[in-house]
Symmetry: T
Subunit: 143 residues, 12 copies
């Protein structure tokens, strides 16, 4: 089935590849978008790939996705740990939601160990760098 997939990226992910490659890898967000696009094209899926530094904008994009997309992949970055608003917005969706993190957040500061996204996500993929996005898309495949 032709899926419509929304991939959402939170604050500072537009800066990817500029610093701390030992934590986040050397890929830029454009690289990740390309890889996701290639994957989706191969599947015959459509892709909507976005990034925002604003919590409210992310909330609005999730609301707009309601009834219009078949799956959401979300790396909420810093808002993962602080945003009840994104939690509530995701809770309004009926489609599968995959949470992704580039770095292994369980190896980092304690304030990154709790996620407000996980409890409303279908599943979580953590620590595989840019490849994590492709694993998230693979998780959405039938079967």
């Amino acid at each position: 089935m032709a899926k419509r997939v929304l991939v959402l990226n939170g604050p500072n992910l537009n800066m990817l590849g500029m610093r701390e490659p030992e934590i986040y890898g050397r890929d830029t967000l454009a690289d990740i978008r390309s890889a996701c696009a290639a994957f989706c094209e191969a599947q015959g899926w459509s892709l909507d790939f976005r990034q925002s530094n604003a919590e409210g904008e992310l909330v609005s994009w999730i609301q707009e996705a309601r009834g219009r997309v078949d799956a959401v992949v979300i790396n909420a970055a810093a808002y993962t740990h602080t945003s009840v608003a994104i939690h509530d917005a995701l809770h309004l969706l009926d489609c599968p939601i995959v949470e992704v993190h580039l770095s292994n957040i369980h190896r980092r500061e304690p304030f990154r160990h709790h996620s407000y996204i996980s409890s409303v996500a279908t599943g979580v993929i953590v620590g595989f760098g840019a490849k994590g996005y492709l694993l998230a898309l693979a998780a959405l495949e039938a079967g």
Copy 2:
């Protein structure tokens, strides 16, 4: 006295009525606006009724209300539990502030039990669904 009332609604309240009616009821935000407008008209009050998904926009609206409104009714939704910025903005006002929640937040997840709004509000009304807005307006009546 003809009051100028500002009713503020936080993130995801624009989605009201679309999901989980057992928690939030079946009323939409437009229904609530209509009910509030009817109440205010009957009282001879003016009503400014707004909703935003953005914390910063809510902060700005509260700042602008300073000296221009006679009372604020606020359902900050998810920001209730995370926003020191809205707490600080409300603290700058001199008029009565009524905090409203549609659902009984004390029956829900622990992270919804604490409110940054309550300590700067005059009073709090929780758990009466859409009717809670009218009770909030009634609380502003003289006597």
Copy 3:
């Protein structure tokens, strides 16, 4: 419909109006009873208004209300924060229960921030002084 309403008041509320008007207001409990009686009479409802300093007596009154009243308004005062027994008694009722507090308990000592009543109440009204009782009764109106 003619409702039978029970209004219950917990310890020290019989002393209302005697001290700390800046926290509790100047109304006495007799004043509040009169205002409630007037409201109920206007609605064609019957009112049973009581106060007790004894946790066990409050528990017994709640038990006796089972099947005999259509709604309970309760300001459990100090027992709000310590009484699992009142929590359990209220849990046995099928009718709406409105929790009321005269002062804004969220602005006071930390031990007043938790309520054993809220999780078995329909809704909660906090911080409006004597007027809070009338808002509670209004919350019971149809529609």
Copy 4:
């Protein structure tokens, strides 16, 4: 030996069988009293079976038991979790004390997981419904 047994029941246990049979079972307190009486009669023991909603009354009954009964079975219900006073009264007794709970309190709300009774009881029997009282009496048998 002919034992004198006191069975004490705390707040709301007089309402047993009226609600939430999936938690507390369908037996009424009268049913439990009958079963205990039958057990005691078979053993040649005397039974004093009481219930109170008042913490102070329970404390007084325990005090009066001092030197007059050979064993106490107590289901302090809600006071289990809040009453230091009952803890202290039981501590004054020299005879065996068996704590009973109808429901498995460890499967319920966190505030029901701690008991002020357990640390002054000989033993604790939890989760067997009305049968728990008979197990408590059986625990008092010689050998």
Copy 5:
């Protein structure tokens, strides 16, 4: 000046002298009453000395003291650690309040280390057995 003194004793203090003399001493409550009476008589003060196992009764006695006594000495026993109701009742008084404990509660179980009475008392006297009551009375002397 001829003071009117109210000495209040909480739950289980009527059992004093019956058990655990190494914690509470060998004096009975009647012994303490006699010693207090002798002290007051020597000062030309009147004494009202009471004990109750019921939290609500203690609350009512404190309320009745308002405007009728010049000082309160209170050993709330177990209710020291659990009663917000007694805290609130004492808070309504204008006269000096002395909190007394027979044993050194800081050497006992952790749940005895916090007192709801201390924050509304003038001062606290702990660990001197029956003599603590006389020190409390002495603390009320002029100068």
Copy 6:
């Protein structure tokens, strides 16, 4: 009905009777087995009575019990407080599960106050020494 009962004993219970009789009593595990056997024989039940020091072995025995026994009595000893694996294994069973402890664990070190077994057990019997096993078996009787 002829029940098949499995009685499981955790680490160090094979050492029973060797030390600290004031905590655990003087009975050996063989004594307890005999008493249980006598009880079961009288009921016409079969008994499988085992002990292991290995968490994994206890898990495997519980798994094997699935569909083959009608009830489990378990004293998991030290693993009570640390084993999520035993919790999960018991959760797979459909039959009644009775948790037993020889000593009153609520009077001992804080790390013995929490049990991973209780939340998957039907009921819990604590503090009656060897007799607790017989009470557990009695709890399984019809009626």
Copy 7:
């Protein structure tokens, strides 16, 4: 490159498919093994797929893997939350380690929210049922 992959399964995973399919899905461990074998065969990798209920055995298997396998996929089940020993054993390996959980552990009991495995794993995949194992293997692919 022909990888040698070790897939380790912890306690109770041998019971998969027998209960709670809404949490763990309907696949049995044999089904998962088959799917993994198919994936590995397609890649030209060798697969060693094991399950144990014993913490010590899992530790030994991990030790033996040192220098003999190119990657480890581990679903430690209950030991995820309690085993420092498995944490330490994994820490001795130099190859990639992928932690897998069938269910979304962040939606379950609080004691399942912390993992001793995550901080020594390369990445974590949670909530995708049996498919999570294949995603884990995919995560090991070059590129």
Copy 8:
């Protein structure tokens, strides 16, 4: 050396001077901007002075500063205590960062005692009112 300095101000700082001068002083944000401008001009530095109520906008401004400014002075106000996103954005910069607070946050509510900014700042200046900004600029001077 001619420095390019970015001074960032968080939510509600545009309201400075309007309320609570005993906490924040009487200076307006325009006054502070003028004082900073004078200081920078005297040093031959350029100044970019901004304020926003929106977390996302502050994040974006910090990102844009990367490689374009030689130092950042930031008073994140309420976001100091809640924003992981600003923490992460600042972490991407290579230049000195000085955190400023007008009031002594350690004398205020507990939720103002923790700062997400401090751990990525070079240094922190707290409690000197408007003068704190000049001290922050002085801290950037060579030597």
Copy 9:
């Protein structure tokens, strides 16, 4: 009997009467010394009255008291809350120890609510200002 009494005063008590009379009263330490001297003289007791700002000096004075004094009255002031060393020194004494505080420490900052002295003191007297020292001496009287 002629007692030898040591009265020890901790840091900053030499500044008594200089500031915050609403907390500590207007008496200077010299005033308190005079009052204590008068009391002791009347009893025929000897008095050694000292003050030090140094924790180590207080420890040494307590050590020297061993076998040379019949009672210690100690107001350790700030060291009350931080000094295990003074706790340990007092623990070496065999004579009665009375802890005194001028102010009611339970009404002050949370860090003043815990005392390392109380658990090694005979009794504690709190909140009576300078008079507390005399009550402490009175507590040492026979009978």
Copy 10:
């Protein structure tokens, strides 16, 4: 106005420059004293610059400053985190107090994150190395 300034340094600051220059910088305490002296001379102020390893000595120096100095700059080093006695001594002063730390204590061990000095200081300057002392002096300038 000619200010009299007291600069106090706590334990181990006499060792400055000997180890861990990456944390504390390369300046010795003598260097800092010289820089402070130069600053004060330029202002026409007198400087009293001291260091002590003894908590009690620091307390005494603060007491002696009462009425004799116009401002205190204090780097209490390790005592920052443990000394209620220094907190109390500083609380007795009427003049401005500036707390200084060489390193950014918020980036170090958790036990260095809390300061007993901050709540009695006018302001706090953290993380600027030796320069922090000069910023503290600058903070004392008029205007």
Copy 11:
């Protein structure tokens, strides 16, 4: 006297010397066994030196030691922090027990700071690498 000494080693200690020599040193477990054997031979003592990855096996070995050995040296490794079962087994012994750790566990992760062994050990030796075993044996020498 000829002692019989049992030296027990917990999980992963069989891997000693293979990784992280900066934490555990370069000695293998065989090296440690040799050193212990040499020490015991010199003393005329017998040595039983064992290692296991299985908690249950360690428990059984400790049980078997009862009455058969004169002292136990135990490095429980990871089980130090999680095993109540080993705690209970050691508690059954009457002989001296010395707890050893190769690394200084107080410098490592917080979950390694608590030991279930320490409270049943005679003494503890931490941080001296392989030499710690010899110090433990030396601690067992007479005098």
Copy 12:
């Protein structure tokens, strides 16, 4: 090699042997000094053995040891649990540091379970009484 060893003893250790021999043993500090001296003499080492009740003096002695001693053995007694200043002083040394405690602090009050010394010590020896000092010296031997 001829080592210069400094042995430091904290508060109240000068009282050793006077009380609680069941906790600390019967040896006096002079006995321990003699034993240490004998050990050092046998090794050809010099010994500097000191005791102080003053935290600041201990800090100064540690500072003076820098570059003048080859090893430090320290029993900081009560300051173990409260002194960041001693922690910081020890951190400035480059030589081995052995922490010693006479009693097994893990069997005592919770406030003795944490040590500020351990994280800057090479190793820790606990619970062997006076012999612990000799084990500490033995730990310093080559090999």
